[in-house]
C-alpha cells in the first residue's frame, strides 16, 4: 500500500470510522468550504483610514499622501532625496507611463533583481485592522519588487483600504476566479529579533516601507 493510503487508513481506523465509503463526510466538507463562514472579528473603529495609518506607522511604515497619479514621481523623488537614497528604481508596469525623468529619477519597468535598491509597486488592497498591504502576484505584479530592494515604495488607493483580512479575501473572491500563485501580506519593513530579542529592521527584505496614499 502507498504511504498515502496507509496514513489515511490509520487516521480513519484510529477514529473508529470505516475505511471506505465516506461520501457524507465529503459532502459536509464541500458544504463547509462553499459557505466558508467568517469567525468572530475584533472591533475596529469606523474610520478605517485612520486605523490603517495608525497601525502602519506603528509597524515602522512611513506614509505620504498624493493627490493624483501624476504626482507620484515628485513624491518618490522627495522621499529618496530626504533620506539620501539613490535616484534609481524599478517599478511595476502600471507606473511605466509616469514622467520619472522630469524628477531626476531613473526608473526601469521590470522585476527587481538582487542589486536593485528601490522597488516601486502598487498593492491589491490594504488592511486597516493591522496596517497591512495585501499583494497578489502576477505577470504585472512581480513579488520580487517588494522583497529584494532595501527600500519598498507602495502606492495604495484610499478606496482599497478594507477593514480586516476577511474583507481582503472577499475582494479577491469577487474580483478573481482563483488565488494567484502568491498572496503576500506585508506589515512594515522586514525585521528580526533573533539576537538577544532585540528588534532590528531590515533582515533579508526591505529596511524601509514607504506608502503613497492616493485619494
Amino acid at each position: 500500500m502507498s504511504a498515502r493510503a496507509n496514513i489515511l487508513a490509520r487516521i480513519r481506523t484510529a477514529q473508529g470510522r470505516a475505511v471506505t465509503g465516506h461520501s457524507e463526510e465529503r459532502e459536509a466538507v464541500a458544504q463547509y468550504i462553499a459557505a466558508h463562514p467568517q469567525g468572530p472579528r475584533p472591533q475596529v473603529d469606523a474610520d478605517i483610514e485612520a486605523r490603517f495609518r495608525d497601525r502602519a506607522l506603528n509597524l515602522s511604515t512611513t506614509i505620504d499622501t498624493v493627490t493624483t497619479v501624476a504626482d507620484i514621481p515628485a513624491a518618490v523623488a522627495r522621499y529618496l532625496r530626504d533620506l539620501n537614497l539613490v535616484s534609481t528604481a524599478v517599478c511595476w508596469p502600471e507606473f511605466a507611463g509616469l514622467d520619472w525623468a522630469a524628477q531626476g529619477l531613473r526608473v526601469e519597468v521590470r522585476s527587481a533583481g538582487g542589486d536593485d535598491l528601490v522597488g516601486i509597486t502598487g498593492a491589491f488592497c490594504a488592511i486597516a485592522e493591522t496596517g497591512t498591504l495585501m499583494m497578489c502576484s502576477g505577470p504585472d505584479t512581480p513579488p520580487a519588487t517588494s522583497l529584494l530592494p532595501e527600500t519598498h515604495i507602495a502606492v495604495v488607493s484610499r478606496n482599497r483600504i478594507v477593514t480586516g483580512m476577511e474583507d481582503g479575501w472577499a475582494l479577491l473572491r469577487r474580483e478573481r476566479d482563483a488565488l494567484p500563485r502568491a498572496v503576500n501580506f506585508i506589515s512594515g519593513p522586514s525585521r528580526t529579533a533573533d539576537i538577544e530579542q532585540t528588534v532590528t529592521l531590515g533582515a533579508h527584505g526591505p529596511y524601509r516601507v514607504h506608502l503613497l496614499l492616493l485619494p
Binding site: G39, E166, S190, I195, H204
Partner: protein, 468 residues
C-alpha cells in the same frame, strides 16, 4: 536531530547552573510573555476568537483524512505535486529524489521544525548537496553546529557576544558587536545564496484545504525568498496542519503572532499556491508539498488528540516555569516545554523520554496561555498514567510510593516513623535551623538550604495542645 531526551535530569541540572543561559531566558519572559498579554488585550473578543480557533482545529482533526484529501485535490489542480511521508526517513528520501530529479546542487531553507525532526540537513549534505539555513537564528545555529532551543526563537540561548565571536571566526571577518551590524553581515552573506540556490525548502504554518495553498509566517522575509526565488520549491509539513478555509486561517492568524512573538501580525504572511503561472516573472517552476505523519497518527483518535490542535506558537514554553529555568536544550529533542513534553514521548516513545511527562509542576500556566486551548497539564497527567501502566516508572520511585502507601494505611507505624524522622532532621540542623545537605535529597539542597522541622510532629503538637 539527535535525541537526548533520556538525559533530561542531568542536563536540566547543568542548565540551572549556567548563569549566562539564565540571563538569556529572563529576556524571553519579559518580551514574549508581556508581548502576548499586551497584544491579546487589543482584542475586545479574545476569548471568542480563542474558542473559534480551537473549534477550527478540532473540525480539521475530526475528519482529518477528508480535509487532507481535499487539500491534495486542490493543490494538484494548481500544479503542486503532493507527497506523503510515513516516517522521517521517507521525508529525507523524497527530498533527495526531488533534488536529483531537478539537478539541484544548492538548497536554501527557511525555518522548519519538521525538517529538524527529520535531520534533513544532514541527509542532504550526505547526498552531496549544499544546504544553507536562512532564518537568522537558524543560520547562527548552523554555523555553531547546535540544535534550536526554542521553536520560535531558536537561538534564544545565545548572547550577542557569542554571535560576534562566531561570525568573526566563520566569516573570517572583523568582529562586529552591534546587533544591527551583525544582522547586516548575515544579510550580505546570505543574499548571494538566495539568488543562486536551485531549491527552496520551507515548512508550512498551515495548509489550506479550500485552495490547496501553503502558508508561512515570517518576519525576516527569508520565507518569501525561499518560496519565490529558487526554481524548485518543497514545503514540508505535518498532516495535522490542515485548515479548511481562508476565513478559518484568518482567525488563527489573529492568534499565532500574538502568542508567538507578541506581535499583532508578523511582517510577512505568504500564501503560495502551486508553481509560477503563465507570464509570471518569478516563482518556482516546480512546487512540491510533503505531508508528514512520523508519529502524528499515534495521537489521532486517542485521549491525546487535542495535542494536534497545536499551532506551534511557543506560548506554552514561554509561560512554563520549568522551561524558563532549564531552557530548551535540556528537553533533548526538537520540541521543548510543555508541548514538547507531550509530543516527544509520543513521537519517539515514552521509554526514550521518561522524564519529560514529569518535567512539569502542573501549574497550568501553559493551558491558560495556549491559543487553541490545549489542556496540556491534563495530557501530561495522562502520559504519567500511561508510564505507570506500562511499567516505565523507575523501580525506586515505584517502591518508595508503595512504601508510602503502606505507611499511610497504618497510622500507628506512620506516627512512629514521622516522630523518628522529625527528630533526626532537627538534629541535623545548624544554628540557624537550616539543613545544608540532605542525604538522598541532594536535588533539594544543592542550591538552597532546607529548613529543619521543629522536632515534633503535627500530631504530637495537636495532642499536647488539646491536653492544656
Amino acid at each position: 536531530m539527535q535525541i537526548t531526551s533520556m538525559h533530561f535530569k542531568a542536563r536540566a541540572g547543568a542548565k540551572l547552573a549556567d548563569v549566562r543561559l539564565q540571563g538569556a531566558l529572563k529576556k524571553l519572559q519579559g518580551n514574549f510573555v508581556k508581548g502576548r498579554a499586551d497584544r491579546v488585550a487589543e482584542l475586545d473578543n479574545f476569548q471568542d476568537i480563542r474558542d473559534a480557533a480551537a473549534a477550527i482545529r478540532d473540525r480539521a482533526l475530526a475528519n482529518l483524512d477528508v480535509w487532507l484529501d481535499t487539500f491534495e485535490r486542490n493543490a494538484t489542480a494548481r500544479g503542486t505535486v503532493v507527497h506523503w511521508a510515513e516516517t522521517h526517513d521517507d521525508v529525507n528520501r523524497i527530498v533527495k529524489e526531488i533534488a536529483a530529479q531537478h539537478g539541484v546542487r544548492k538548497v536554501i531553507k527557511s525555518k522548519s521544525m519538521v525538517t529538524e525532526e527529520c535531520a534533513l540537513n544532514d541527509a542532504l549534505i550526505g547526498a552531496g548537496l549544499e544546504v544553507i539555513e536562512t532564518d537568522l537564528g537558524e543560520y547562527i545555529l548552523q554555523l555553531a553546529k547546535e540544535p534550536p532551543s526554542h521553536i520560535v526563537a531558536p537561538v534564544v540561548h545565545k548572547t550577542r557576544e557569542e554571535v560576534s565571536d562566531l561570525f568573526a571566526e566563520k566569516h573570517n571577518a572583523p568582529r562586529l558587536t552591534d546587533i544591527p551590524a551583525l544582522c547586516r553581515e548575515a544579510r550580505e552573506k546570505l543574499r548571494p545564496h538566495f539568488l543562486s540556490a536551485d531549491m527552496g525548502v520551507s515548512g508550512a504554518n498551515f495548509i489550506i484545504a479550500e485552495t490547496g495553498s501553503t502558508l508561512i509566517v515570517t518576519n525576516e522575509g527569508n520565507g518569501r525568498m525561499v518560496t519565490t526565488l529558487p526554481r524548485v520549491h518543497v514545503a514540508i509539513t505535518g498532516i495535522e496542519k490542515v485548515v479548511p478555509t481562508l476565513e478559518d486561517v484568518t482567525t488563527l492568524l489573529r492568534l499565532l503572532p500574538r502568542h508567538g512573538t507578541g506581535q499583532s501580525i508578523t511582517n510577512y504572511i505568504s500564501v503560495t499556491t502551486g508553481p509560477r503561472r503563465a507570464g509570471d516573472l518569478d516563482g518556482p517552476e516546480h512546487f512540491h508539498v510533503i505531508l508528514v505523519d512520523a508519529g502524528r497518527t499515534k495521537l489521532i483518535g486517542g485521549d491525546l488528540q487535542e495535542m494536534l490542535r497545536c499551532i506551534r506558537c511557543g506560548a506554552c514554553m514561554n509561560h512554563c516555569p520549568v522551561y524558563q529555568s532549564v531552557g530548551g536544550h535540556a528537553y533533548g529533542w526538537v520540541y521543548p516545554g510543555p508541548m514538547g513534553a507531550i509530543l516527544t514521548p509520543t513521537y519517539i516513545g515514552l521509554e526514550n523520554a521518561p522524564d519529560l511527562p514529569n518535567a512539569s509542576t502542573l501549574c497550568g500556566q501553559c493551558s491558560v496561555a495556549c491559543p487553541v486551548k490545549i489542556p496540556l497539564p491534563d495530557l501530561l497527567r495522562k502520559l504519567r498514567e500511561r508510564q505507570f501502566e506500562q511499567g516505565l516508572k523507575p523501580w525506586h520511585e515505584v517502591a518508595a510510593l508503595r512504601a508510602w502507601g503502606w505507611l499511610a494505611q497504618h497510622p500507628s507505624v506512620y506516627g512512629l516513623m514521622t516522630r523518628i524522622k522529625v527528630r533526626a532532621l532537627k538534629a541535623m540542623a545548624n544554628r540557624e535551623g537550616m539543613i545544608r545537605s540532605l542525604p538522598f535529597g541532594g536535588g533539594w539542597t544543592d542550591r538552597r538550604d532546607f529548613p529543619a522541622p521543629a522536632g515534633k510532629t503535627f500530631r504530637e503538637m495537636y495532642k499536647a495542645k488539646n491536653k492544656n
